[in-house]
C-alpha cells in the first residue's frame, strides 16, 4: 500500500476512455461498479465535451457479486451494440472488476457479435493512465489496421493525440498545416477524431508522426515493424525542435524541405531587448516526459533561463528524462508523489515553475509563479482560443505562456527602485495580475527570526536588508547568501556577508 493524496495520473481504464472518447464509431464496454462513472465528468466538464463519452459501465453492485456479474456484462455489451451501433467495441475491466475475474475478453468472444471486439488487459494495480491509453490505442491499431498500398502522394499519419490531451486539438491543426507546407498530406489522425475504418487505413501512409509518445508510441512501433512505416522521434515543441522536426521529415521523405518561417515570431520576441530580464531566471520543470524534454530545451536555449530542476511523473519516460537531466548537470526527479515534488521545489526555490496543475498549486502555496506546460489538466487548460504547443505558432504561444506569470522587465526595475511605494510594492505581485494586488499593510516590525539553515544565523541588519530585496529574487538571495556563508564557514550573516555574497554571485 502507498498513501496518496493527489495523483498525477488516473487508473489505466481512464487512459482507455481517453482513446475511446477521442474516437468516433467506437464504444467501450467497461465492467465496473457505479462509482467509476465519475470519469465521464473529466470529459464533459474539464474538456467541456458536448457528448457523453462512448462508455457503457456495467455498474454491478454488491448484491450482483453473489449472483451473476458475467451475465450482466454480456447484457451491457449487447445493449451497447444495439443502442449505439458502433463499428467496433473495446471491452475491459476497471480495478474492481479485475478482482472478480469475469474475463470480459472471453465473455464477449462467445457472444458472436458481428463487429470487431477488441479486448483490453490493463493491470489496474501496477500501471496508470498513460499506459492505459498507449496500450488501448496499440490494441486497436493491431486489431484493425489492414495491409494495403501506399498512397500515391507522400502522406503521413499523426499518432497519439487523445481526449483530455494537453492542447491536442490545436496541436493537430498546427501540425497538419506545417506538414502541408512541407508537401506532406495527412492520411489519418488517430485516435483523435478517427473511426475504426480510419484505423484500418493507417498503413496507407508513408510514415507516422508521433505527436504524443506517451499515448502513441506502442502503436507507432508496431506499425514500423509490421507495416514498415518509419516514425518521427522529434516532437516539434519549441523553435529548435520544430526546425529539427522539419529536417527529420526531409530525411524521411528523402528530399530537402524548405519552409516559410514568416509566422514564427518567437526568436525575435526572445532576442528583443525587453526580454533581457529573462536571462538566467531559475526555472524548475516538471510534467510528462515529452513536455518536460521540450521545455528544458526551450527554457535554456530559447528563453535564456537557467534550468535548476527537471523531472517527470510518468515512469515510462524515466530513462530519457534522467539522461536529459544529466546533460543539464542535474539529477532528474522521477516521482508521482506530489509531496516530493513540493519538497524539491521548496528546497531549490526557483523563480518560476514550468509544471502541471499540481505544480501550479504548489507554486501558489510557495509564492512562486508557475506556467502550466503539461497534463494533468484542469478546465482552464482547454482554452477557447487557438493555442497550440507544436510548430511555429506553438513556439509563439509558449513564449507568451512562459512570460505571463513573471513580473515584466521595466516593472522589475521599478520595483527594485521604489520597493517601498504604498501601491507599487512587493506584496502586490505583478501588476498585470489584478487578483493579487493588495494595498500595503504597514507591517508591525517582525521580531521573529526568518527560517534559517541549521547553523547559520541572520543578524538583524542583514535580515532587514534582505526584506528590501524584491520578492521575486529574495528567495534566491537568501539561498545564495546562505550557501556563500556555508562555503566560507561563517555561522552568522551580517550586512557585509549579504553584499559579499551578492558580489560573489554577480553575473
Amino acid at each position: 500500500m502507498k498513501l496518496t493524496v493527489w495523483t498525477y495520473e488516473g487508473p489505466p481504464h481512464v487512459g482507455a476512455m481517453r482513446v475511446a472518447t477521442a474516437m468516433k464509431g467506437l464504444h467501450y464496454v467497461l465492467h465496473a461498479p457505479q462509482g467509476d462513472t465519475y470519469a465521464d465528468l473529466l470529459f464533459t466538464m474539464i474538456e467541456r465535451r458536448n457528448h457523453r463519452p462512448p462508455v457503457s459501465y456495467t455498474t454491478f453492485q454488491a448484491r450482483d457479486l453473489g449472483a451473476d456479474t458475467a451475465t450482466l456484462f454480456k447484457k451491457s455489451c449487447q445493449d451497447a451494440v444495439d443502442r449505439f451501433q458502433p463499428e467496433a467495441i473495446i471491452v475491459g475491466a476497471s480495478c474492481t472488476a479485475e478482482l472478480i475475474q469475469d474475463d470480459p475478453a472471453g465473455l464477449s468472444e462467445t457472444m458472436g457479435l458481428s463487429i470487431p471486439v477488441i479486448p483490453l488487459e490493463l493491470p489496474s494495480y501496477s500501471r496508470k493512465e498513460n499506459f492505459g491509453a498507449d496500450e488501448t490505442f496499440y490494441q486497436i491499431v493491431k486489431a484493425l489496421a489492414k495491409p494495403q498500398e501506399r498512397t500515391a502522394r507522400v502522406t503521413c499519419n499523426i499518432l497519439g493525440p487523445t481526449a483530455l490531451g494537453f492542447r491536442a486539438r490545436d496541436d493537430v491543426e498546427e501540425l497538419t498545416g506545417l506538414l502541408s507546407d512541407l508537401g506532406v498530406q495527412v492520411n489519418v489522425v488517430a485516435p483523435l477524431g478517427a473511426t475504426p475504418s480510419d484505423i484500418a487505413r493507417l498503413p496507407a501512409a508513408h510514415f507516422n508522426v508521433l505527436l504524443s509518445p506517451e499515448t502513441g508510441e506502442a502503436a507507432a512501433r508496431w506499425l514500423e515493424k509490421n507495416h514498415h512505416q518509419p516514425f518521427t522521434k522529434i516532437v516539434p515543441i519549441g523553435v529548435g525542435a520544430t526546425r529539427d522536426f522539419i529536417a527529420e521529415i526531409g530525411d524521411i521523405i528523402g528530399k530537402p524541405v524548405l519552409i516559410d518561417e514568416s509566422r514564427l515570431r518567437m526568436p525575435w520576441w526572445s532576442r528583443s531587448v525587453d526580454s533581457t530580464y529573462l536571462t538566467g531566471k531559475r526555472v524548475f520543470i516538471f510534467g510528462d516526459g515529452t513536455h518536460v524534454a521540450a521545455h528544458a530545451r526551450i527554457a535554456r536555449d530559447e528563453m535564456g533561463f537557467e534550468v535548476v530542476g527537471i523531472g517527470c511523473y510518468n515512469r515510462e519516460m524515466a530513462r530519457p528524462v534522467r539522461a536529459l537531466a544529466k546533460s543539464y548537470g542535474l539529477e532528474a526527479l522521477i516521482t508521482d508523489d506530489y509531496l516530493e515534488v513540493e519538497a524539491a521545489i521548496e528546497a531549490l526555490s526557483p523563480e518560476m515553475i514550468l509544471g502541471t496543475q499540481m505544480e501550479r498549486h504548489i507554486g501558489k502555496r510557495l509564492g512562486i509563479p508557475c506556467a502550466v506546460i503539461s497534463a494533468p489538466v484542469h478546465v482552464q487548460d482547454f482554452p477557447a482560443r487557438y493555442s497550440p504547443q507544436v510548430g511555429f505558432e506553438g513556439a509563439n504561444v509558449i513564449f507568451d505562456t512562459l512570460i505571463h506569470p513573471l513580473v515584466m522587465g521595466l516593472e522589475e526595475h521599478l520595483l527594485t527602485m521604489f520597493r517601498d511605494d504604498f501601491e507599487f510594492h512587493d506584496d502586490a505581485g505583478p501588476s498585470h495580475h489584478g487578483g493579487k494586488a493588495k494595498a500595503k499593510v504597514e507591517a508591525v516590525v517582525e521580531e521573529a527570526p526568518a527560517p534559517q539553515d541549521d547553523n547559520i544565523i541572520w543578524l538583524a541588519d542583514a535580515e532587514k536588508e534582505l526584506k528590501k530585496i524584491p520578492f521575486f529574487v529574495r528567495g534566491k538571495a537568501r539561498r545564495n547568501t546562505e550557501t556563500y556563508a556555508t562555503q566560507k564557514g561563517l555561522h552568522q550573516i551580517s550586512l557585509d556577508t549579504l553584499y559579499e555574497a551578492k558580489a560573489h554571485y554577480a553575473r
Partner: protein
C-alpha cells in the same frame, strides 16, 4: 393529512418506476469531500485503488491544497497477491500518518470496492488501531464503496458507524443528524434556542470532544434525506425519530421546526414570534428567484436522494411542474412526509437505467433538468437547460436564510439562457 396536503393528493402512494441498469452516479467515497471539512479533527483514510484517489481528486473539482484531511492507501500488486499482509500494511500507513498529523483525533478507515471484494477486514483493523492509538485517537471504519453506497450514502455510512460509540445518556435531548455548513448549523441552533428547545446535540459534531450522546429519551431529527442507516442505528440505541419534511424552503423549514416545537411543547405564540421574521424574508427571497421558475417543468435524474424534498420545494414554493422525480433510493420513513406534500402528477422513479431515462427526458423536453456532471453538458448541447446536482450538496441550501439561494440555484441556468444572445442580429 393536514392543511398542507395537496388538493389532488400527494405522491406517497403513487406507483414507483423501479429501474435497474447502468447508473450514472458517484460512489459513497465522494462524501469525504465535505465530511473532512465538517469534522475538523478527523482524517479519512480510504483503503482502495488509484481509481478511488482519482475520483476524490476529480470530484473535489478544485483541489484543496491546504493538505486535505483525506488520503488513499492505494492497493498494489503485492497486496493482492497476498505477498504482504493487508493488516500490517494498514498499521504502518496509519502509524506514519498519525505521527505526521498529531492534530488528528478521529480516523476513519473507509472501505472501497476493491477492499470489499478482496475482503480486507477494516472493522478488525479499526478495533486494533483504536487500542494502539487510544486515548488520543479513535479509529472507526465504514464502507464508501460503489458496490454498496451511492454518493450521499457515504455520509450515511460514516454517521451510522459513529452511532454505536456515542456516549449513553438518559437525558431528554434533541439530536440533529446530518452534516450542515457551519453557518447554517448556527442559524438552526439559534432558531431552536429561541424557541427554548434544548439541549440540542449534533451528529456529526465539529470535534470529537463534543457532548453528543444518545439514549432512550433522545429524540432525533434528520436534516438530510439520505440518512437511512443512521436512522436505523439511532433507533437501535432507543432514540425516537421525529419524522418531518426536510428543511428546504419556507414550508419545509417551518414544517420541520413545527414537528420539533410540538414535541417540545413550544407554544404557538413563541413559534410565531421566532419564525415570523425569517419566514417573511425567505418568502420574499424565494419570490424573486421563483419569477423565472413559475410555470416551468423540471426533471430530476437520481443523484443525492435530495430529489424528492427539492421537487416538493420547486413545485409548491416556486410554481414548477415536476415531470419525473428520480431518486437512487426511496425510504418511506424518511421521504414519506415530503412525498405526502408533493402534488400528484410526476413519475416517481427509483434506481436508474441511464440510457432509458435519457430517452424519457429527451421526449419530455423539460425546461430544467437536474442531473450529474457527466450528463449536464451533453444535455445542454441538445438544447436542454440543466442544473448540476452536486452543487446542491456543496452549497448552503437549508433553512430560511438560504431558501432564496436554493431557488436561485435553479433559476440561474434559466436566467443565463435568457440573457445570452449569441446569434447574429437580424
Amino acid at each position: 393529512m393536514n392543511a398542507l396536503t395537496p388538493s389532488n393528493g400527494g405522491c406517497r402512494t403513487a406507483p414507483v418506476l423501479k429501474e435497474r441498469g447502468q447508473r450514472e452516479v458517484f460512489c459513497g467515497l465522494t462524501g469525504i469531500i465535505w465530511l473532512h471539512r465538517k469534522m475538523q479533527d478527523a482524517f479519512f483514510l480510504v483503503v482502495g485503488s488509484r481509481t478511488c484517489a482519482h475520483l476524490l481528486q476529480s470530484a473535489a473539482g478544485v483541489m484543496i491544497f491546504a493538505e486535505p484531511r483525506f488520503g488513499t492507501a492505494i492497493l498494489e500488486e503485492t497486496d493482492l497477491a497476498g505477498m504482504k499482509d493487508a493488516q500490517t500494511e494498514i498499521d504502518r500507513e496509519v502509524a506514519r500518518l498519525l505521527a505526521r498529523r498529531p492534530d488528528i483525533r478521529q480516523l476513519f478507515l473507509v472501505g472501497s470496492c476493491p477492499s470489499e471484494v478482496i475482503k480486507i477486514d477494516l472493522a478488525k483493523a479499526a478495533e486494533r488501531l483504536s487500542q494502539i492509538h487510544a486515548p488520543h485517537v479513535r479509529v472507526l471504519n465504514y464502507s464508501g464503496s460503489g458496490i454498496e453506497t451511492t454518493f450521499t450514502e457515504g455520509e450515511d455510512a460514516c454517521l451510522a458507524c459513529m452511532v454505536p460509540v456515542l456516549k449513553s445518556t438518559e437525558a431528554r435531548e434533541l439530536l440533529v443528524v446530518g452534516a450542515l455548513p457551519d453557518v447554517v448549523e448556527d442559524q438552526m441552533l439559534s432558531l431552536l434556542a429561541d424557541m427554548g428547545v434544548g439541549p440540542v446535540r449534533l451528529l456529526p459534531a465539529r470535534r470529537i470532544d463534543d457532548t453528543t450522546a444518545v439514549g432512550p429519551n433522545t429524540v432525533f431529527a434528520l436534516v438530510q434525506p439520505f440518512l437511512g442507516e443512521t436512522h436505523s442505528a439511532l433507533e437501535r440505541r432507543g432514540a425516537r425519530h421525529l419524522a418531518a419534511p426536510f428543511p428546504f424552503g419556507d414550508e419545509g423549514t417551518t414544517a420541520w421546526l413545527r414537528v420539533i416545537a410540538t414535541e417540545f411543547g413550544v407554544s404557538e405564540e413563541t413559534f410565531e414570534a421566532v419564525t415570523a421574521a425569517p419566514r417573511a424574508r425567505a418568502r420574499k427571497a424565494i419570490a424573486q428567484a421563483a419569477e423565472v421558475l413559475r410555470g416551468k417543468s423540471v426533471f430530476f435524474f437520481p443523484d443525492s436522494q435530495l430529489e424528492i424534498p427539492l421537487a416538493r420545494f420547486l413545485t409548491r414554493e416556486c410554481g414548477m411542474t415536476a415531470i419525473e422525480v428520480g431518486s437512487p433510493y426511496i425510504h418511506d420513513a424518511l421521504h414519506g412526509p415530503d412525498l405526502d406534500l408533493l402534488p400528484a402528477g410526476p413519475q416517481i422513479s427509483e434506481g436508474q437505467d441511464v440510457d432509458k431515462q435519457l430517452d424519457r427526458a429527451r421526449a419530455a423536453r423539460p425546461d430544467l433538468t437536474i442531473c450529474g456532471l457527466g450528463l449536464a453538458n451533453p444535455l445542454e448541447a441538445e438544447g436542454l437547460s440543466t442544473k448540476w446536482a452536486i452543487e446542491l450538496v456543496f452549497t448552503p441550501v437549508h433553512f430560511y436564510e438560504q431558501a432564496g439561494d436554493l431557488a436561485g440555484l435553479f433559476s440561474r441556468p434559466l436566467r443565463r439562457k435568457a440573457v445570452l444572445h449569441l446569434e447574429a442580429a437580424e
